[in-house]
Amino acid sequence: MNAPHLHLILNHVPTIGSAIALGLLMVALFRKSQELTRVALEVFCVIALLTLPAFLSGVASQEALAKMPEANVSIDAITKHYDAAVVAFAFVLFTGAVSWLGLWQYRRVSRTSAINVSLVVVLSVIALAMSAGTATMGGEIRHPEMMNPGAEPTAGPSWISAAAIQGLVTDHTWLWPSLEALHFIGLWLLFGVVLIVNLRMLGMMKAASFPSLHRMLPWGLLGLSINVISGMMWVIATPEQYMTNVSFFWKMGLLLLAGFQLLYLTTFDEPWNVGPGDEAPFKTKAVAASGILLWVCVMYFGRMLPFLGNAF
């Protein structure tokens, strides 16, 4: 399997996944079910995580197609699809982040926030519309038969383009080092919180309850957000440095797993029940240890981008 193959497998996840999650949330609101609302928010988080490989494998596919003139595909159609994917990706991720905040809040007060759920509904409708549009443009690259005779191809976003982001990053000398500095700040913000929370589950700082440390998790999410934004700006600016870089693929694969671990910390009951002086169950300790290991490996492969992958 290669990146284009992976893209074919995952490219329906943002559209179909967002539709399913939004449907679940609507049913939950209709039934006034807190439990179903929580499930819908969890699905939005999973969709956001799975959209990461869907987007990156799409960028890799574009890079691969650029080296295959015999493929005879429209570069204009690919560019439109890419521009639309950037916007859809941002909205899907933002929906996932707000959903995670809703789950975090639910965990603390045992009920969902009306403001949070309303925001998730609005964002997910936009994310679904953007994802569906992106999927249509992606289909039109290889399947002109899906268009009505004489119809124009679906229009992409006119207000933003990947080329504009690329130009912003590469044409301004201050931006790349700023992103580097912010990436490191995001890293210590995220890893600091993740380390403290997971170390507590492993048996350190037993006087503190898990709920008291759980309160800091949004700071970790903010750190992760800084890193995803800065990281994706680099990927869009210089895709050739990442899309054939083995270290980058390891980093992204492990980041995906680490993201699921972050989700575990606030959605599962086991860690939440660890009170002051309590010993966490073995399963929770194993997940905590894997969380620390995963983030260390993410950092390792990030640092190894220029060495293992010969980029930069």
Binding site: R108, V109, L175, L222
Partner: protein, 47 residues
């Protein structure tokens, strides 16, 4: 303006925005916890 000054301004601005966001989220959660029936600070509310 030198590169170092430009980078510093960008970094400080983003850190301030993130700090304010984090603070607002934390306050909002604390207010909700105070309003929750039978809630006490840092006590497990959900089982």
């Amino acid at each position: 303006m030198s590169l170092a000054v430009a980078v510093s301004i960008v970094v400080v601005c983003v850190v301030v925005v993130v700090g304010v966001l984090g603070f607002v989220i934390d306050r909002h959660a604390e207010n909700l916890e105070r309003k929750a029936p039978g809630a006490s600070k840092d006590a497990p509310l959900h089982s």
